[in-house]
């Protein structure tokens, strides 16, 4: 498929924050994997909602409430379609972290209630990987502790790819659930979903996909990927904070007990017991992120208009430019150096200079990157380091910004009195 390339200059005009400067230098925002910026279209959609249609949804008969409910459910339909799903398969969450915790907790509760499909106990295995974000690791450590199941980890190869041979050995008849990131937030590599899903489904294991870093950057169709559950966050997707999506196969969502309990997810409540609505409402207790859902729908429409094939082409182009540039610099060690499909993201170590200091130096040049362990301590430990510097791009990132970044990185070691770069 050949989509028209992104017109980045035109896109940038939609993002007010990109006009900011840092210490007198124009901002180069290369921290989109942490959180993306929002275009006018998203900001305006939320603003229009708040100033003209704000009301509690699913709860009132008055006109404002009906307008709000329509806007909220229209948003669900738009966002569901964006990931290939039906409306009933999209549960609103406050983000990927809540989504992953929801799955873990609901499974634990189902297991405690003896629901066979979700039963977990000693001898059963939950499989994740060495490369996961803490959000896709800690809930499974918890689930293992609470059920007695064992947590296992697919290893990562030196070049950052998942070790599929090891995966074939680890995923087996004891595996009840496999979870992994579609795109890693440190390695930037697009993981082979089809292979992993096939391995897991061969053994009837459930597959959870952490799609936090994929949904923003590539065309994603959850039903086509045949994963059982998937999560993503709005704020990495040009959308507002505090809203995200949980996708689930209909029959699984229907079989899972609810997680958060409260208003708007019940049919009948007595002092002693409660009965619950079908999915998705069953999982949406309390007042929902309504204006934020409306904003996220505007973000999905914005990306649809750009065309996700074009977005991925742009990301792949920037990713290659980042990699090529960094590979050419002395004293730089890349994490995830594989020639594999990837987005515009590179995490690296600068020999002799701590990532904090690298980040500070880049900041003085107006370049915003992230430093630290990026919520992936085990992966950093796997590579024998505690922290890295990460640059990540999005639809508004230009070649010139990547080049400015590369030039600045080339100067870092010199500034801190080490060889291999010009002095500042």
């Amino acid at each position: 498929m050949h989509a028209a390339p992104l017109d980045v200059d035109r896109i940038r005009a939609d993002f007010p924050i990109l006009g900011e400067s840092v210490d007198g230098r124009p901002l180069a925002y290369l921290d989109s994997a942490a959180t993306s910026q929002r275009p006018r279209q998203v900001i305006d959609a939320e603003l229009e909602f708040v100033t003209r249609r704000n009301a509690a949804v699913h709860r009132g008969a008055h006109t404002l409430a009906a307008l709000a409910t329509d806007a909220f459910e229209d948003a669900r339909a738009i966002v569901a379609r964006f990931v290939g799903a039906d409306e009933e398969q999209l549960v609103w969450t406050h983000g990927a972290t809540e989504g992953l915790n929801l799955i873990a907790h609901s499974i634990e509760d189902a297991s405690a209630q003896g629901v066979e499909r979700f039963r977990l106990g000693p001898g059963d295995e939950i499989v994740t990987t060495e490369a996961e974000h803490h959000a896709n690791l800690l809930p499974w450590q918890w689930l293992a502790r609470r059920t007695g199941a064992t947590l296992r980890h697919l290893p990562v190869l030196d070049d950052g790819r998942l070790d599929l041979d090891a995966a074939a050995a680890i995923i087996g008849p004891r595996t009840r659930l496999l979870t992994f990131a579609h795109v890693g937030n440190v390695l930037g590599i697009v993981n082979p979903v089809a292979e992993l899903v096939a391995l897991a489904h061969r053994h009837d294991a459930l597959v959870v996909l952490d799609a936090c870093q994929s949904v923003p950057h590539l065309p994603v169709d959850f039903p086509a990927l045949d994963v059982d559950f998937a999560v993503f966050s709005g704020h990495k997707l040009l959308g507002p904070n505090a809203v995200g999506g949980l996708y689930g196969k209909a029959e699984l969502l229907d079989a899972l007990p609810p997680f958060l309990l409260g208003g708007s997810m019940i049919t009948t409540v007595t002092l002693e017991t409660a009965e619950f609505l079908p999915a998705p409402q069953r999982f949406e207790a309390g007042t929902q992120p309504v204006s934020q859902a409306v904003g996220l729908a505007a973000a999905a429409q914005y990306l649809d208009a750009l065309d996700m094939d074009a977005v991925f082409a742009h990301e792949a182009h920037l990713g290659a430019r980042l990699l090529d540039g960094l590979r050419g610099l002395p004293g730089i060690r890349l994490l995830g150096d594989a020639d594999a499909p990837r987005v515009g993201l590179a995490a690296f170590d600068v020999e002799g200079v701590h990532a904090h200091d690298v980040g500070q130096f880049l900041d003085s040049r107006g370049i915003a990157v992230r430093v630290g362990h990026h919520c992936a301590q085990p992966l950093h430990r796997r590579f024998g380091i505690t922290s890295t510097t990460r640059a990540s791009s999005y639809v508004y990132t230009t070649d010139a910004e990547v080049d400015r970044f590369l030039e600045a990185v080339a100067e870092v070691r010199g500034f801190f009195g080490l060889g291999g770069g010009a002095a500042a």
Binding site: A66, D70, L277
Partner: protein
């Protein structure tokens, strides 16, 4: 006709006050009958509806419930329609599907009085999206009861 009067037409108020088919027969549903209980969790409205199929025609549609004018009138109009036209199971299923489509159309698709009888007065509901569930309650019960009745056949 302002918004309120397009919703609460005279005919609707009449049906809600003198509902057709109100009152369930004693005892459990017989073979070839289906019965369904539907609840609107937002307001607690409930309808229990029973119907049977005799000689390929819907027969003996009865219901009971409580709730707003819209939900009660709508169930009554459905009972009236079935009594008048004695549709086949397939015809009833199609009527329900068309009714749902019209009600969800946000005012775009009107209900044809030739086809829907008194229930055509419910067209106005489709502009009030919060009330669509009320109007659907009896019809969803009928859909479910019909499924049971025809499965059992």
């Amino acid at each position: 006709m302002n918004g309120l009067e397009s919703l609460y037409q005279e005919l609707m108020l009449d049906h809600s006050k003198n509902p057709v088919g109100f009152g369930l027969p004693e005892g459990d549903p017989a073979a070839g009958e289906g019965q369904s209980h539907q609840l609107n969790p937002v307001c607690g409205d409930e309808i229990t509806l029973r119907l049977g199929v005799t000689d390929g025609k819907i027969d003996g549609l009865h219901w009971e419930g409580h709730g707003c004018v819209v939900s009660q009138a709508s169930a009554s109009m459905l009972a009236d329609l079935v009594e008048e036209d004695a549709p086949s199971p397939d015809e009833l299923a199609e009527l329900i599907a068309k009714f749902r489509e019209a009600l969800r159309s946000r005012g775009a698709i009107p209900l044809d009085a030739e086809v829907f009888g008194d229930a055509a007065a419910l067209s106005g509901v489709s502009k009030f999206s919060a009330r669509v569930k009320c109007a659907m309650l009896g019809w969803v019960a009928a859909e479910d009861a019909l499924r049971q009745a025809t499965q059992a056949e």
